[in-house]
Structures are given as structure tokens and as C-alpha cells.
Amino acid sequence: MTAQPRLVGFACRWCSYAGADLAGTSRLEYPASVHLIRVPCSGRVDPAFVIRAFQRGADGVLVAGCHPGDCHYASGNLFARRRFALVKRFLEYLGLEPERFRLEWISAAEGRRFAEVIREMTADLERLGPNRKLREDP
């Protein structure tokens, strides 16, 4: 087995997690790099979760939520959008590669898009190689 990147995803249960489920019911194959953590809303995702993932050895982190305007809770993803716009830039400022963190909007109907995002991100992470920054010693 070739070592594949470790991608931790935070997915809102209404849209992106359901989108990932749809990719499943549609049998769309994508890399097993990703492990999703179900959260009620992208607005629930505390940047501390992202940092913890990098500390524990994630090579990439994805935060996925409903498209703006479609949030089940009306506004959660709009807070997330602001929050992670800052966090992403800050992580880069600390020296992390931009490809290692992504915020994506994936609806419950976008199984295909979910698979695509995972494929894309996994390819990026493979190209970058394992992450050592912010990461504790194994």
C-alpha cells in the first residue's frame, strides 16, 4: 500500500456531509485520503480544530459547508467564510502551503463535486508531500 496523504475534512451535516453521502450512493470513487468529521454547520468549525488536525499529522484540512445563501441555519457559512478567509491567510503567513487548507461549498446535491474536490486536494497534497509544519513529532 502506498502511503497516501491524510486529509481531514469538516463537513456540515446538511450539505457537504450529505453531498459526500451522495457521492457514496452514486458510487463515485475518490481517494481514501479523506476522513470526514460531521459537524452541524461550517459555522461550528473552530479554527482550533484545523490546527489540531495539522498538529496531529493531517497533510491537509478541508472545511466544507453549504453554498452561501443555502445554510440550513441561514448564516453559519457566512461566518465561516469570514473566519476561514482570515485563518487560511494566517496559516500561509506562518509558512503553510496554501493548498493544505481549503474552504469549499458543497451542496447535498453535489456528490460529484465532493469527489472532485477530494481528488483535487489529494493530488495537491501528494505533490507537496507529507506536511511537517505545525506537526508534532510522530
Binding site: 473552530d46 488536525a53 440550513h72 453559519g76 451542496s107
Partner: protein, 651 residues
């Protein structure tokens, strides 16, 4: 020491074919705190649930992880099973190793490793779960129905008949919606108003139904069982309580007005009703067409009114209704002309859409039911119907099928031939979708009895020539170019959600899909519920559908609403936010991000802390994420749980 049980489901071969479930169970057993791990073919089955219950009892489990399909499938099933066995249902977590593992990965080794990690994450999570009790909420037994079309009326009628008060809010001055505009209905060719009018009258006089027409929902607050709805009524400039419905005003009004009801085919008056059978039979003044409101001296209506009901000073009024459930039945619009340049829609008067054709067909319509083309009033000898005008057309942003067009086009072609026996109908179509009782037979009748010529293919363009319209298209079956000279072109334009549907979604805090159709909670199993508890969907507001389906769904929504309204009290998911008051600094930043106004300050021993109303809280967690000190927790998704999941995944 925790006592966790892990149950790895084969799901037949759905999981077991790709994931080595025995290895996953063995890996689970190695996790500290896991005292029981087993696999089974179908844990969701009765014997499967019994196995879980048995393990809960015999191994004295204080946490259960079921590795199976998505939690959206069977989380509730397994929680119930655990509860029956004496374990608090909130001490159950689902590891999604089917939709997010076995179905999307093919390599057995990687899928097995990933499944084990997903199980470990849920073990880590369930260890940090607390037993929770459902939140008990009182239920207001009244219902609100938004939309007074056939869907709204059906839902309102069913709820009222079951003994509950219903408020119906309709944006137009009268009930009826789209169905009232139709001439006949497919496939039986019943006269639409003949079947709708009695229903409208029944609804209007029902003692438990209150009609609020010419009104809109402005604000919705509260939560399931306890909604508070602000409804604004636009000024009608007529005191409806005084008005006796004689319609003298309409007769005498000198100002013509294009009313929406006629869909561009005919004119009404600046004061009046949309159609003669309108319920309530009360006029409104459309100020944009009224001479007086346009600054002229006219006061004809006020002068002729025998009861002095005209009131030019009337202002918008607002009222608040408390209800326990809401049915959303706002219906549909059709794609506007601007989208069809190549068909000359909006440019050539004889290119019309199907709704306009309905009006031409209607015996109460502008032509008295005689089909005359708009430009010169001639009876068209050749009519081209173009299906899928905008539908199934990703370029125009509408990849979906509008569903009703095949059938109403067949109906139009049929009715046209009945009324113009020597006329010829051409139908350009992509596919004929006639799934429904008697539908396919009806299409065949249209072809065979009405002699409609069905041409499979797209129309490239429509342009005028010698007072007629030349329709250029391709017959993809014959592989030839087709050119038809027509007197009238009828577009089966795409079905869209009602204008303003998205705004209403925001007001109601329900989700809408990319096209603006309201999203159901689950496409198969919860098709009339929304993700917001207590709000239900009926009719074409959710997706294009025909009358029979609409009525069936409206009754289903009513049944769902009644299931709630008859309860008196209901249990809500306790996965809501809670403040650790000892840690809270009272900065109340959480209040800014709460979409439900569920957070209020509370005085606590000379200091201020945040306090969550668990009835209002929907558990989105925005507050928990923005709270710096970690004082705001979210049951089921606490910081510590998510961090533990991260840790377990990254091992």
C-alpha cells in the same frame, strides 16, 4: 473506565465486499475502553438491533458505536434500539463506513484502514457524549399555510377538517393560484375552475380557516410548535368588511390594467377582482394603474360604490399570528420571456407561453375560450408547440425537467384540434415523459385522434415572414431539417419557483436548492418536511409537479402538520448549545452570531452571563465556535468531542 461497544455492519455485501469488517472489529477491540465488538450482516434488521440491545445489557455498555451506513439513514433507528435496551439514546454514534467508505473506495486494504479510523473517531466521540433528555416544548395547535393555490387550500382544508384552526396567507387578492388560470386539466379534460371553485368556496367558508389574502409573510420567529409570524396586508384601498362585492366599481372604472391573472392575454381594471369567481369576491385597487393614484382627478369607484367602501387612505396593516406548524405552498412561476431570444418570445406577439395559451383556451378568458392569436385575433391554422423551453437546458441554468409540460402540451394540442378542427398542431419535443395514470394513453389520443404531429428535436429559431412565424428546427429521428410556417407558437417554458421564494426561504430559515425550489428533509423518506422542524412543503414550491401530485403532497403535509399539532407537547433534539456559566465572561459575542435569537444575557451573582433558550436553539454551533473561552458548549458536537475525533483520525 468507559465500556463502549462497537458494532460493525456488513450491510450485506455493501460494506463487507470492500471492507474487512472482522479486521475493523479487531481494531476496535484494541481501543482502550472498547469492551465489545462484533459484526453482523444487517444491524438495522430486527435481529441486528436485538444483538445491540443484548450487548448493551450483557456487557453493561455505556456507549455504542455502530459502523454502518450514513447517520442520516439509521442514526434514529440505532438510538431507539439503544433506548429500548436501557442506554441513553444520545450515547450512540454512527461511523459512516458505507456511503463514505465502502461505496467510494475499491482497495480493500485502504478501505479497511479508513473504516477502522472512522470507528476509532466515533469511539473517541461517544466517550465524550453525555446522556441527554429530549427537550419538551408546548405546541400551539394552530397552523399557518402560505399560499392559497390548490396546494395551500388542500392542506388548509385537511388541517381544518381535523379540527385545527388554520390561517391561510395569499399574496394575490384571491384564492386559486395557478390552477384558477387553467382551462382544462389533463388527462381527463375536466374544466379546471369547475373542480376548483367548489373547493375554494368550501375553504373560504370553513369556520376554522381564516383567509388573509393580498398579504405576505414578513417575519417568522420562534420554533417548532411555537412560531410567531408577522403578516403584512397590503392596502386594498377598499374596506372589505363594508364591500358587498357588487363590482360596480370594476364595471365603471375607466382605467384598464394588465392583471397578472390574464398572463398578458387580457386586461382588467385598476380596481376589481382577477376573475369573476374570485374568492374572496372583493376588489383591490392596483395603484400603479389607478388614475387617482397617478395624480389625476378620477374618483369614479368611490362615487359609484353603494356602501362607501373605497378608501384611498388605507395603509398597510400588520398582524402577528402564533402557530405551531407552517405549510409552505407558494407554487411556481414560468421562465420569463427574456430568456428566449431565439424564439422571438416577447418580441413577436404570436409567440406565447403555455400559461397564456391556457387563458386563450379558458371560457372565462379574454377571448371567451376561442383560440385567437394575440397579434390580429385570427384563429391560428397551424400552431407549433415547443417543449422544454428552458427546461433540461443547462446552458440556461435549468438542467431539470419541468415535468408537467409534456402533458399540458398534449392537452393543448388536443384542445386546439377540438376547437379548430381543421387546424394542425406540431409539437417539438426532446422526449415524451408521460408517467402517470392515463397519461401515456392521453398522449396517444392526442397523436391519433387530434392528429398532432410530434417532431423530436430542438427548434433553432423562430422568425416572422409574411405575417406568419417560420419555425426552423431539426427532426432528429428523421435526421432532417424541418421548417414549419405557424400562426402561433406556444412555448412550454420552464417551471421556476415563485418570485421571492428565496426571500421567503430566508424568512422561514428553510433551505432552497440552487434553483430556489425548497429543499425537503430527505428526498425519499421525508419528502414533505423541511430541515426546519414544523415547516412543511406542498406543491410546486418544492419541485415542478402536476395537480394530482400537488394535492396528494398537500394532504401529506397536512398530515405531517397534524401529527405535530395534535400532540400538545413535543420532544426536541437536545443537541443544543449550553453555557458553562462558571467560564462565561458575558461578552455575548455569541448573541451576534445566533440566527435564532436564542441567547439572552442573564444576571448571575453580580455578573452577566449568556444563557441559551433550548427551545429556540437549533444546535448550529455558531456560538460555540466563536466563544473564545470555551464556555459555550454544544451537546453532541463539543470542542472536546471534535478534537478527540481529529485525534483519533490522525493516529
Amino acid at each position: 473506565m468507559p465500556r463502549i461497544g462497537a458494532f460493525i455492519c456488513h450491510c450485506g455485501l455493501n460494506i463487507a465486499a470492500t471492507v474487512d469488517v472482522e479486521r475493523v472489529a479487531a481494531r476496535a477491540r484494541a481501543i482502550p475502553g472498547v469492551v465489545h465488538a462484533e459484526t453482523y450482516k444487517y444491524f438495522c434488521s430486527q435481529p441486528g438491533q436485538e444483538k445491540i440491545a443484548e450487548a448493551i445489557r450483557s456487557s453493561r455498555l455505556d456507549g455504542v458505536v455502530v459502523a454502518a451506513c450514513s447517520p442520516s439513514m439509521h442514526e434514529a433507528t440505532f438510538r431507539e434500539a439503544a433506548a429500548l435496551a436501557g442506554l441513553n439514546p444520545y450515547l450512540v454514534q454512527i461511523a459512516n463506513i458505507r456511503e463514505q467508505c465502502s461505496w467510494v473506495h475499491s482497495d480493500r486494504e485502504t478501505a479497511t484502514v479508513k473504516a477502522a479510523a472512522l470507528v476509532a473517531a466515533m469511539v473517541a466521540k461517544v466517550r465524550r457524549d453525555q446522556p441527554l433528555e429530549p427537550i419538551r416544548l408546548p405546541v400551539n395547535p394552530r397552523a399557518l399555510v402560505i399560499g392559497g393555490g390548490v396546494a395551500g387550500m388542500q392542506a388548509a382544508w385537511d388541517i381544518a377538517e381535523a379540527g385545527h384552526a388554520v390561517v391561510v396567507v395569499e399574496r394575490e387578492p384571491n384564492l386559486g393560484g395557478r390552477m384558477a388560470q387553467l382551462s382544462e386539466t389533463f388527462p381527463t379534460l375536466d374544466c379546471a375552475s369547475c373542480i376548483l371553485t367548489p373547493r375554494t368556496a368550501e375553504v373560504a367558508r370553513h369556520p376554522r380557516i381564516e383567509l388573509l389574502t393580498w398579504s405576505e409573510v414578513r417575519e417568522v420567529s420562534g420554533y417548532v410548535g411555537n412560531f410567531s409570524v408577522k403578516i403584512a396586508r397590503r392596502p386594498a384601498f377598499v374596506d372589505w368588511d363594508r364591500c358587498i362585492g357588487c363590482m360596480l366599481c370594476q364595471d365603471k372604472c375607466p382605467a384598464p390594467a394588465p392583471i397578472a391573472f390574464e398572463h398578458g392575454m387580457g386586461m382588467g381594471k385598476a380596481i376589481g377582482v382577477s376573475f369573476p369567481q374570485a374568492v374572496p369576491n372583493r376588489p383591490v385597487i392596483r395603484r400603479e394603474y389607478c388614475r387617482r393614484f397617478q395624480g389625476r382627478k378620477c374618483q369614479v369607484c368611490a362615487k359609484v360604490c353603494p356602501v362607501g367602501a373605497v378608501d384611498f387612505e388605507q395603509a398597510e396593516s400588520c398582524r402577528e399570528e402564533k402557530v405551531g406548524a407552517i405549510v409552505v405552498a407558494t407554487g411556481f412561476d414560468v421562465m420569463p420571456a427574456a430568456h428566449f431570444g431565439e424564439y422571438g418570445y416577447g418580441e413577436y406577439p404570436d409567440v406565447i407561453d403555455s400559461l397564456a395559451f391556457e387563458r386563450l383556451n379558458s371560457s372565462s378568458g379574454p377571448t371567451g375560450g376561442v383560440i385567437r392569436r394575440p397579434s390580429d385575433g385570427r384563429i391560428p391554422r397551424e400552431v407549433v408547440f415547443i417543449q422544454c423551453a428552458g427546461s433540461r437546458d443547462p446552458d440556461r441554468g435549468k438542467p431539470y425537467c419541468s415535468k408537467i409540460c409534456c402533458m399540458y402540451t398534449a392537452k393543448h394540442a388536443f384542445l386546439y384540434r377540438q376547437k379548430v378542427p381543421d387546424g394542425q398542431a406540431y409539437v417539438f419535443y426532446m422526449d415524451i415523459r408521460a408517467g402517470g395514470k392515463g397519461y401515456e394513453e392521453f398522449v396517444q389520443r392526442t397523436v391519433e385522434q387530434a392528429g398532432a404531429m410530434y417532431l423530436r428535436g430542438r427548434v433553432a429559431r423562430v422568425y416572422p415572414e409574411d405575417g406568419r412565424l417560420l419555425v426552423e428546427g431539426v427532426d432528429t429521428l428523421a435526421g432532417t431539417k424541418v421548417e414549419v410556417a405557424a400562426d402561433l407558437v406556444v412555448l412550454a417554458t420552464a417551471v421556476l419557483p415563485r418570485e421571492g421564494a428565496r426571500d421567503l426561504a430566508r424568512t422561514l430559515k428553510i433551505a432552497a436548492d440552487e434553483h430556489g425550489f425548497y429543499s425537503e428533509a430527505h428526498p425519499k423518506l421525508r419528502p414533505v418536511e423541511t430541515m426546519t422542524r414544523g415547516i412543511f412543503l406542498a406543491g410546486a414550491a418544492q419541485a415542478p409537479r402536476d395537480i394530482a401530485e400537488t394535492v396528494a403532497q398537500a394532504s401529506a403535509a397536512a398530515a405531517k402538520a397534524l401529527g405535530l399539532l395534535t400532540r400538545g407537547e413535543l420532544a426536541a433534539d437536545p443537541l443544543v448549545a449550553e453555557v458553562d456559566e462558571a467560564r462565561c465572561s458575558g461578552c455575548l459575542v455569541c448573541r451576534h452570531v445566533c440566527p435564532y435569537q436564542a441567547i439572552e444575557p442573564r444576571e448571575l451573582a453580580a455578573r452577566k452571563v449568556a444563557s441559551v433558550n433550548p427551545g429556540l436553539c437549533q444546535g448550529c454551533g455558531a456560538c460555540a465556535a466563536i466563544c473564545r473561552s470555551g464556555a459555550m458548549g454544544l451537546h453532541g458536537f463539543s470542542d472536546k468531542q471534535v478534537l478527540a475525533e481529529v485525534g483519533a483520525i490522525c493516529l
